[in-house]
Symmetry: D2
Subunit: 358 residues, 4 copies
């Protein structure tokens, strides 16, 4: 068991925010109708509709993988193609969940150095699919990750341009918002603006990395899109009987702006870390630091020394066009400034040593 | 929102046991490795191995539907058949989850008046499958529900005979133990005796109905059977990142015999309810009351009066060979004797009225 | 290898009709665009549209199992239920193909003594599904087998009543027409009358049992229903590159009324067989003989003697309410009157012997 | 309808070889047991075992897509990864059939300029999969296309090296042999040498492009690998009832060396085409011409003129590192030398014109 202070490995190694646990405890009174027919779940729908400024259909589930795979299952037929960035979680980290839930659709990864894709990248694959006719999977959906796997953030205009390109070809638009709070906190835009007002049809709304115990949600901005979704969630085993305990987690995160405060804090800690590390010799950010993830190239010897001292983080594959060892550092709602400063201090110690030797 | 006291609708309308919430709160400290690489999950495996008197592989998941469907996915190929009672949860209440997780296996329901199946019932379908060869789905697994959907309980000898018949034909044996604690409490047998010592290969170990917030587990008694299971759980979106919060629920239930105490209480409340109702005119139990469910035939007028008074329960389809209106009453770990007595008193009032009129 | 003359085992042990082989040979000239973009396939669509008196979309495939499973895959979502007779080919003889192609829908068999189902039989399961909500698979389609697996035939009015009940609940209607030609030949109705004019949405049009080498077709009467079907056929590996050879088989069967002549012959041979056997002591038809299948109860000793003499047929499970050994006899487009008479004579010999002894 | 002579579009626009049609007609006598229990199918197994010099299990099916997808379904679990060249038919031309048949496995394309992959290309993805653990699909199979989609041919040593790398990591080895006869004819190796003696576990044996009407086969060199395959074929709707007509096509192709003679002819025509075109100004082969496909860069004006004159072929995406318009020309068992010479002459006419102008 590591202490919190030295863990920069992932925002899912965190505990839950205290308010989430309190909300769970507070909901633990008396019997309630099961499966979502309870006042907490009704309250969640109202709260989400208010936050997104439109009447949404919101379906809580336990994990981000479930949210993504279920969301895609209504956007693509089994013979469809879903386009996304080649590093997208749905493409690389879900053990084939999207293929499972969609009954075999193909996840097509598009490359780019910074985790974002551009509308023009859809042109060639969509033209190829049209040329190939029945022999090729049918283009069905675009999935955007916000913030991206490289810690970068799509601006509303970027999402709009991508959605417009997708919709022009009949593709639905999914947003994997495992870290959408970090993106919104960075952009300062409204939740509506970065989602449905920019053309997003279905959102995986993340909360677990940002303070929940285990709570995500699939949000439909056009409720007609949700046809059949309740049945899909049930047959996937993702319908909680004691649903109140899932709904209250999301309420605790969303109400009173807590999700954005938590995410803003994580972003600030990332920025502080970037600022501190950026001053060190041989250290360089290989991506813009916009959300709560840093990708940093630094000397191998420094990496080893930091790991040896008990700091936790992962080595990462360098982005296209970059060389040298890269590490990923992730901050969270419970990262403290002193944790950051300790890391910077340690890195500084080893980097300077290193520098002196070279 | 109903009060607890009048709700006999289901054991999944209950809150969580206080100890479960306390365990969750107590685990909410510091960062931990995600996805089950944490000390709580290790403790759970040790505890379950101790309870079942053998080294088990135990995989926590959130719902009983997930536990069942995942368990079956390793027992049958896509072209397989799974035999169970025609009222089994996997056959009727999971919106096709077993078909989804097994990639299309067939769930074959066998009839019987009391929810239990007999070894001889396998003969005809297995012979038919053998005759039909490649045209027929291949017999692959037997799934037993313990306690059954009719509130009855298989004795160890009954499970042994069924397992022996299944194994003789190469079928794996699954036990849907959504209410296994109630069965064990009734039988007074050990957890080992009623499961692997009686031939069960894979168990869906239920906890949610018996005090957990949302926690079940798939338990493999032969760990080799679990090959690939971790991948199946992940791609189903059932691998919690903050796994500790799932593991501690199960620990809280299993340790210090709490699961059996809770279940024993629920059973006792059911027995008290049966004893009270059994004295009333026109009231009859249509199944033996062995666990925490009662199936009762009573005059329609009485049913309506009880519902009108705010008691909650479901009307039920009468078992084969029975006529008249039937209701299901379910007790739980938090049913109180005064709740039971109030129900009996009300029923008595209406039943006697009814009797006087007739 | 058995001779044709003594084989009453199945209509799929037949060779192809000579005209089918001739049509294949005649189409074997020059290169043609692949995958159905050829004049033969265009001719097939025109011919089928003429025969069914409406513009159909027709998709040739190789087997009846493929036709049925593909047809159902557009009528039901993965979380759907398909209702059919409990003896339907889709329920018992396709090794789970419908479950595979529909990604896990549930095939629900309804009982009846004669292979036909009645509209009222849908009431209880549809009501139960409505009561169960998200926990139950969603009613999605009705599949009728024409002629049925018991050799009986639905009259147009019967199909209309069933379709009306199905459509009233939003279910699509599929007809498994593996032996539809036999049904039409029996009824004397038009192909249109017994299909779309009676409410059938999608038809599996059989030809293999009735003279083709290996050719069936999925026929959509409402072409909008065929959306996505071409992709489903391709990804199932059922799109022939040299499609002409599949299309000409169907053309050879359908043109000049050959399918109905062939089927009419098979039916006449079945009637002749029934007439001959019906005179024998101890022999009884257990179903009306309407198409090309007979189900006959006769003394076990006679069955053994016939098999010993080299006749081929299957013993069959007796229909509900019938006792005694039952055999199935199937005639085909190439059964000859002398074959029938030889069978009757042999049966007569043994039956009389038997009678004399008893 | 194009004449054969000008069609260089694909080897699947061909008719069937006359011997195949003759074999079908010759088998059209009398009744035979259905579903493969017939002497032709037995003969096919014997013939294939003789040709491959080992006891094989061979399963005829109708299309190459079916053969590939079925073969892969026994090599990978649903949570598996199948590695292949990025242009492989299974990756790009089967509308997701592999994903469908494997219940959602991931097809991972590896790049290379000439359609062949190298053992070292497996290193990075296998290491990445190992690092990622349960979050990543599990490496399960390697699929090699022989001849490749770029008309190139793996030498036995190349297949051996790839198979060794695959087996070292527990991956099964599949060969998509849609054009394996062309590869064998080019190599002069034995069928055994280029398949199981080089480590191939399962082969999709193509015949349709090389003279059959519609016949391919899945060949298992280790018959234990075929466990469950018969059921998979049946439930896919790929088990012909009148199987003799599928088996005789394969027999007609394989016996008396016809498949290799046909393929050798197609290869010779390709070589003749390459030789003729290679002399023209501005014309260049962009891949080695080893089997029956040519990839040629030539001036756009020439391409347009040839198409206008009625020649049929496809424009193709240039391989990595090549620029300019590229066309694909395919020869077949029924391409005649005069067809080739006419094409070369026409191309020469336009190329020289072109040259004169430039």
């Amino acid at each position: 068991m590591s202490t919190t202070g030295r863990n920069f490995g992932s925002d899912n190694t965190t505990p839950a925010a205290p308010e989430v646990i309190e909300a769970i405890a507070a909901a633990n009174t008396g019997s309630l109708h099961a499966y979502g027919d309870d006042p907490y779940t009704a309250r969640l729908t109202a709260l989400a509709s208010e936050l997104f400024e439109t009447d949404v259909a919101i379906y809580p589930v336990t994990t981000g993988t479930a949210a993504n795979a279920l969301a895609l299952s209504v956007l693509t037929p089994p013979y469809g193609a879903v386009y996304c960035h080649e590093t997208a979680h749905i493409a690389t980290d879900e053990c084939g969940a999207p293929e499972f839930y969609t009954a075999g659709a193909k996840i097509v990864g598009l490359p780019s150095p910074d985790g974002k894709i551009l509308p023009a990248q859809l042109d060639a694959p969509l033209r190829h699919a049209a040329d190939m006719g029945v022999h090729h999977v049918r283009p069905a959906a675009l999935s955007l990750t916000q913030a991206t796997e490289w810690g970068t953030v799509y601006a509303p205009g970027e999402v709009q341009a991508l959605s417009a390109a997708a919709h022009a070809h009949g593709l639905g638009v999914h947003m994997d918002g495992a870290r959408i709070a970090n993106a919104i906190a960075h952009l300062g835009s409204s939740p509506a603006e970065i989602t449905w007002r920019s053309g997003v049809d279905v959102l995986s709304l993340g909360a677990t990395k940002n303070g929940a115990m285990a709570a995500e949600a699939v949000v439909f901005f056009d409720r007609a899109r949700a046809e059949g979704f309740a049945a899909r969630r049930k047959r996937a085993g993702h319908l909680w009987s004691k649903m109140r305990f899932l709904s209250v987690q999301l309420i605790a995160c969303l109400e009173a702006g807590r999700w954005l405060r938590n995410a803003g804090h994580a972003n600030a800690m990332a920025a502080r870390l970037a600022a501190g590390l950026g001053l060190l010799p041989g250290v360089r950010m290989v991506q813009p630091v916009q959300a709560n993830e840093l990708f940093v190239t630094l000397p191998d010897r420094v990496i080893e020394a930091l790991l040896a001292e008990g700091f936790e983080f992962y080595r990462w594959t360098a982005p296209a066009g970059t060389s040298g060892p890269v590490i990923r550092l992730v901050t969270s709602f419970c990262t403290e400034a002193t944790d950051v400063d300790a890391f910077v201090a340690a890195a500084g110690r080893y980097a300077v040593d290193q520098d002196a030797r070279s």
